[in-house]
């Protein structure tokens, strides 16, 4: 570690970043074989695959930092909901395809800005992982932004789908930028950007894309929050019940 910082802050950060990728990857993978067109089946499987690969990197590092012998798998499969640190946005149900795309876009913009900043992390491992993942996430963002524009500025019906997805999800975006004392310490040490610092660029990209998509940016600034502290929505329990079933039912088995 380049700079000394309370390791529990670093662990918290790695869990948040890994859990976001894991839970969103889970949600996206649920579309496999059910999307509106074959090209989307392929693209969504690819996105989910990238996110699961990313999860392995962050949670793997989290296990090392924690130093208690936990692996990416044991962190993914053997923690209960209250120990998960993902934002509420990524556990939102898939809804119609518009909601899935909008959730992806709002997340991708943030994800892109986070990883861009993390490439300069004073922690070499974090910088290395971020550089690798950023290549994939740049593509995710390019794809989701393009679809938001085409569907927002598409037919009246596709516009309606995208606007209602945006209205539904907007209140879940604020949590991405909430900053706590651990975040401040990591920012101070040059390990990770303070979440609030990512907001201006996020705003700029989101506004530009929504403008092109002829979508109306919601004005209500209420923020649903809790995920980053382990207080989730009802949905996460079901995600975990499904995801963790085999590991829970057959403890210690090798798969």
């Amino acid at each position: 570690m380049a700079t000394s910082v309370n390791p529990s802050f670093l662990l918290e950060f790695l869990l948040r970043t890994g859990d976001n990728a894991l839970i969103l990857g889970h949600r996206v993978s649920q579309w496999c074989g059910h999307s509106p067109v074959l090209e989307e089946d392929i693209a969504l499987a690819n996105t989910a695959l990238d996110l699961i690969g990313e999860t392995q990197l962050w949670l793997g590092l989290a296990g090392e930092v924690e130093g208690k012998g936990r692996t990416a798998d044991s962190l993914a499969y053997l923690r209960d909901a209250a120990e998960f640190r993902n934002v509420l946005l990524v556990e939102r149900p898939n809804g119609d395809f518009g909601q899935t795309l909008m959730r992806q876009f709002l997340f991708d913009v943030w994800h892109f800005e986070l990883l861009t900043a993390l490439q300069e992390s004073s922690n070499a491992r974090i910088a290395e992982i971020s550089a690798k993942v950023l290549k994939e996430v740049s593509y995710h963002l390019e794809r989701s932004a393009d679809l938001i524009i085409r569907l927002g500025d598409g037919s009246a019906e596709s516009h309606r789908h995208m606007q209602s997805a945006l209205d539904d999800l907007w209140a879940y975006t604020g949590e991405l930028f909430l900053t706590d004392v651990g975040d401040d310490a990591l920012a101070e040490a040059g390990i990770a950007p303070a979440p609030a610092s990512l907001k201006p660029k996020w705003e700029a990209t989101v506004s530009r894309v929504l403008g092109e998509a002829t979508l109306r940016r919601p004005t209500d600034n209420y923020i649903h929050k809790g995920g980053k502290r382990g207080v989730h929505t009802e949905h996460l329990g079901y995600i975990l019940a499904e995801m963790q079933f085999l590991q829970r039912a057959y403890p210690g088995a090798i798969w």
Binding site: S29, G33, H34, D41, L49, D73, L151, G154, M243
Partner: protein, 334 residues
């Protein structure tokens, strides 16, 4: 295999003397091993048979996402989840190559999908069986992809150029599919007693449906003879089934699992295994729509298509808007 009982519209094979000059030249090109390309002359029966065969194959790839997709969210490790996602993504990609190959024959993907959704076109019987435990994902890769490979390897030599090239691309990816399946089977068969029981259960349920993938014996079928004369089929169903059994039995032995066939035994004279035929009445039931999952599979595909209509229409609307804006800008600039 992914195309079963494909009809050819022929009631008997024509001899060279009975053919028109065009037909004769075509048949001679096939004989010399030349590839037929989309713009070239071909008998109408050849074109139609290819549409049925490649279309059925394409449908099988996309319906085939469903039984494996069923376990993606429950895959037991992150690594297994990633491998399964990559595999299912490949299958969707195979669907894409194959639909593109059929489109060269003058029928659109939307038309083909409409025929799938209305039940006019079929997909492989195997995807109407459920995946009930995690070892089923192993068994699908090992047996189902294994059987598909048997068929696809020979089809690389098929006479229709775009189909042959699609098969070459697909075969490159398939060996990974079978390997990951067998790897899951090894972990399960050599795992704890519960895992071993799942592995045996998966093999027991998937064995006969896998044999059915090759279709009923076609040694006396005129359709098969016609397809073979056109080189859009290279081996008979029985030949491929025999090869599959001969390849699979030692693999099952290595796993310490029992193939559910009391008559299975090595036959020195033929240099292959004797084995029991599957229950063909079950096969015909499944083909007729009465397999355990036919309704679910079709409902899932139709729902995906119908729920996605606004998405596809929205993209078309955007493309039209952009084109007309561009045209307007062009006029304004003049």
């Amino acid at each position: 295999m992914y195309a079963q009982m494909v009809k050819t519209d022929s009631d008997r094979l024509k001899s060279l003397d009975e053919m028109t000059p065009e037909e004769r030249e075509f048949q001679e090109r096939i004989g010399r091993g030349e590839k037929i390309e989309p713009k070239e002359w071909m008998p109408e029966g050849y074109r139609k048979t290819l549409i049925r065969q490649i279309g059925q194959h394409a449908h099988s790839e996309i319906v085939g996402q469903l039984p494996e997709g069923n376990w993606i969210t429950r895959a037991p490790t992150l690594e297994r989840k990633a491998i399964l996602l990559a595999k299912v993504q490949d299958e969707a990609g195979h669907g894409l190559y194959l639909y593109s190959a059929v489109e060269t024959l003058g029928v659109s993907r939307d038309e083909l999908l409409a025929m799938l959704h209305s039940g006019k076109m079929k997909y492989s019987s195997i995807f109407n069986y459920p995946t009930l435990n995690w070892a089923d994902i192993g068994a699908v890769g090992w047996l189902v992809d294994g059987a598909a490979i048997m068929n696809q390897v020979q089809l690389q030599k098929t006479s229709y150029g775009p189909y042959s090239r699609a098969m070459i691309r697909i075969c490159k990816e398939e060996s990974f599919h079978q390997r990951q399946g067998y790897d899951i089977m090894m972990k399960m068969a050599f795992g704890n007693p519960a895992q071993k029981a799942m592995a045996q259960d998966a093999l027991s349920r998937f064995w006969y449906p896998s044999l059915m993938m090759f279709g009923p014996s076609d040694k006396d079928s005129v359709h098969s003879a016609q397809s073979m004369a056109w080189k859009i089929k290279i081996n008979t169903n029985d030949e491929l089934r025999q090869k599959f059994v001969d390849q699979t039995v030692p693999q099952a032995k290595y796993l310490g699992l029992t193939i559910p066939d009391e008559n299975l035994k090595w036959n020195e004279d033929k240099g292959g295994y004797d084995f029991s035929e599957p229950d063909w009445s079950e096969f015909f039931d499944v083909i007729a729509g009465n397999g355990p999952c036919n309704r679910e599979r079709m409902n899932a595909r139709v729902k995906a298509w119908e729920d996605g209509a606004w998405f596809r229409d929205g993209l078309v609307a955007h493309a039209e808007k952009t084109a007309s804006r561009r045209a307007a800008a062009g006029i304004a600039a003049e």
